[in-house]
C-alpha cells in the first residue's frame, strides 16, 4: 500500500484557495452546542480525516456543512464561493445505517440516484445515466452486483454502493461519513484505492474516520475535533501524541489506542 503521507502532500498557501472554508460554524440543539466556532481551511486535493472521540460532533460537522441540519451560526465556502452555489460540486456519502436497506431497489438503481440532480426535475433516467452508474459500480469493484437487491449485499458492499453513488455525481469534493465503519478487509482496501484515485484526479475528500491506527496511512491531512477544532493541518505535523491527548482527553482506553497508533507511526 502506498503511503499517503509521503508523496506530494497538500499544503494550503496564499496562492491556492481552499477547497473548503468553514467559518465560525456552530450547531446547537436546544441551547446546548454540539460543535462550536469551527474554523477550517481545507486544501484542494487533500485526503482529509476528521477524527475525534464519540460525540465530538464529527457527523454533525459534515451534516451542517452540507446544510442537512440547521446551523446556529457560520458559513461554508467551496472554492471561495458560498456552498449553496457550489452544491452540485459536492457529493455526500451518508452513514450506511441511515437508510432502510429493505427498500425495493437494486444496486444499480441506487447508484443511478447520483445522476438525478444533473438530470433535473421530472426527466426520466436516460441510458447515459445508467451507463455512468455502471461505470461507478465497476470503479468500486461491484460490476457483477448491479442487479442485486440491496438487502442481499454484504455490509461492505452496501458501503461501496454508497460510494459509487457519490462517484456517479462526478463531484469535485466528497464528504464521507464513516465509510470504513464495520467493513470487511476487501472493502477497506477498495475504499483506500478509491481515495487514492480520487486524489490523483485532483478531488478533495473529507472523511470521518474512527480508526486511529490507520489514519496516518490513509490520509494526508488531519482535523482533530472535539466539539471544537483541536488542530487541523498536514498529517505529519498534526498527528502527535500531544494533539491526540488534547483531543481525547481523559478517555483512557482511547488514549492508549492513540498512543500506540502514534508510536507505530513514529517507528515507520
Amino acid at each position: 500500500m502506498s503511503n499517503a503521507t509521503q508523496d506530494h502532500r497538500a499544503r494550503p498557501s496564499a496562492s491556492t484557495p481552499s477547497a473548503i472554508s468553514i467559518r465560525d460554524l456552530t450547531v446547537a440543539y436546544q441551547q446546548k452546542p454540539v460543535i462550536w466556532d469551527i474554523d477550517l481551511e481545507l486544501p484542494k486535493g487533500a485526503l482529509i480525516a476528521v477524527v475525534g472521540p464519540n460525540g465530538a460532533g464529527k457527523s454533525t460537522l459534515l451534516k451542517s456543512a452540507l446544510e442537512l441540519i440547521p446551523r446556529t451560526a457560520g458559513e461554508v465556502l467551496v472554492d471561495g464561493a458560498p456552498f449553496r452555489k457550489q452544491r452540485h460540486r459536492v457529493a455526500y456519502v451518508p452513514q450506511r445505517e441511515s437508510v432502510d436497506w429493505d427498500f425495493p431497489v437494486n444496486a444499480l438503481e441506487v447508484v443511478t440516484m447520483g445522476t438525478y440532480r444533473r438530470l433535473g426535475w421530472f426527466r426520466p433516467v436516460t441510458r447515459a445515466c445508467r451507463e455512468r452508474a455502471r461505470n461507478a459500480l465497476a470503479q468500486v469493484g461491484l460490476a457483477d452486483y448491479a442487479t442485486r437487491q440491496i438487502s442481499k449485499l454484504s455490509g461492505g458492499q452496501q458501503q461501496r454502493v454508497f460510494l459509487a453513488r457519490a462517484l456517479a455525481q462526478d463531484a469535485d469534493i466528497y464528504f464521507m461519513d464513516e465509510p470504513f465503519a464495520a467493513v470487511d478487509a476487501s472493502t477497506e482496501q477498495a475504499i483506500v484505492e478509491l481515495l487514492h484515485t480520487l486524489r490523483s484526479a485532483g478531488k478533495t475528500c473529507l472523511v470521518v474516520h474512527h480508526d486511529l491506527a490507520t489514519v496516518p496511512r490513509y490520509f494526508n491531512w488531519l482535523v482533530l475535533l472535539n466539539m471544537r477544532v483541536v488542530k487541523s493541518g498536514p498529517m505529519d505535523e498534526t498527528f502527535t501524541a500531544e494533539n491526540l491527548r488534547k483531543t481525547y482527553g481523559g478517555k483512557l482506553s482511547l488514549m492508549s489506542d492513540a498512543i500506540s497508533a502514534f508510536s507505530q507511526q513514529a517507528k515507520s
Binding site: 451518508p94 427498500f103 438525478y116 426520466p124 438487502s151 461492505g156 464495520a182
Partner: protein, 451 residues
Amino acid sequence: MESSEAIWRTVLLLDYNTRLVVLATALLGLASGLIGTFLLLRKRSLMGDTLAHATLPGLSLAFLLFVTFGGSGKSLPVLLLGALAGGGLGALGVLWIRKYTRLKDDAAMGIVLSVFFSAGVVLLSMIQKIPGASAAGLESFLYGSVASMVLTDLYVLMGAAIFATALALLCHKEFRLLCFDEHFALSQGWPVRRLDAALLGIVTLITVAGLQAVGLILMIAFLIIPAAAARFWTDRLDLLLLISALLGAVSGWLGAGLSAVLPKAPAGAVIILCATACFILSLLVGRQSGLIWRVYRQTQLKRQTTHQHLLRAIFEMTESRPESAVTQGALAARRSWTRRELCRGIRRACKRGFIEATASEEWKLTPLGIVEAIRLTRNHRLWEHYLLEYADIAPAHVDHNADTIEHVLDPGLVRRLEARIGKLYPKGHGMTPDLPPSPHQIAQSSERSSS
C-alpha cells in the same frame, strides 16, 4: 341464481347503470395503489390515516356553512373543498405539534386523528338535528357508498384519479429518491420538504376523491393494502408500482361491482375486503416472498443441505482412499441427522448418480460424485478459512448455502483465501491438489466405521 348473474353483469361492465361507477372506482384504485406505494415506502401510512379522518370536520363545517347561507348543503364541490381544508389543517397540526413540542410523530398523529375525528362526529350529530337539512348524504362519506354517486360525482372522481396518477408518474424519480434517502436528496439540493408536501398533497387529493366511494374511515386501507400486497411479488420499485396499481384497480373494480349489487353493505368495506383478498392471495402465492414459495425454498434448502452434508461426509471419511465405501451406520454416527433424513438423502444422491451401493447399506462415491464432493468440500473449507481469517467481520457475510463462495464474496477475496491456503499446504498434498484441507481435525473414518 339471479343475484350472482347480476354481479357478473356488473363486474363485466354489461350493466349500463353501473358501468361508469365500476370504472371510476377502478381508476381510483389504480391511483391509490400507485401513490400508496410511495406513502408506504416513506413510512407515512399513519399520516394518510390522519389526513383521511381530519376531512370529517371539514366536510361537516362546509355542510353547515352552506346550509346557513341557504344552500341545500349537498353541493359536492363545496363538501370536497371542506374536506380538503380539513385534511390540510390536520396535516399542518401534525407538523406543528412535531415542531413545537417534544412529542414524536406517532403521538402527534394519534392526537390529531382523534381530535379531528371526534370534532367531526359531534358536528355530524348536530347536522342531523337541523330540521329540513338532509344529512343522509354525509353518512355515506364515513363508510362509502357507490349507489349514492351521480354522474358529476363520477367525473370528479375520475378527474382526480387521473390527475393524481399523472402527478405520481411525473414525480416518480423524485419520490423514489425521497423515500429511499432523504438526506442524500437534501445534499443534492432537492427541496425535500416540498417533495414531502407534494406527496401528502397527492395523498390528500386521492383521499378526498375516494371519500364517497370508499369512505374516510377505510380510505387508508385502500392506499396501503395494494402496496403491501405487491411487496410479496417483487423487490423492484418499478414493478412494485405497476403491481400495486393493478391490485388497487382490481379491488376497486370488484368491490364497486359487488356493492352496486349489494347496496345495503357499505361500499368501502366491500372494496377493502376485495383488496384484502388480493393481499391474502399475494401473501400465499407471491413470487418474491409469498408463504408457499418461502416454504418451498426452505424445503429445497434443507434438501440441498442434507445433500451437501452427505457427499461431504462420505468424501471426508474416505479422503485418503476415495474408492472405498462407507456403511450407513458410520454415516449416521457422523452427523446428527435423523434416520429418515439420511435415508432420503442417500436415495436422492443415488438417483442423481453421485453415489452407488457396493453392498447392502454400504455406499461409495461415483466418479461424478467425487467431482461434486470436491467442489462442495472446497466451498465449505474456504468458508471455514474465511471465518477464521476475518472472525471480526465475517459472520455478516457467511452464506453457507451459496452454491459457490464466489457468489457472495469478491473474487479477489476468494483468491486471497486460496492463496493463503495454498501457501500453508503446497500443491500435491493429498489426492486433490486444489482442495484446501479442513482447518480442523476431521474425525477418522476408519475409527468410526470399525466401531
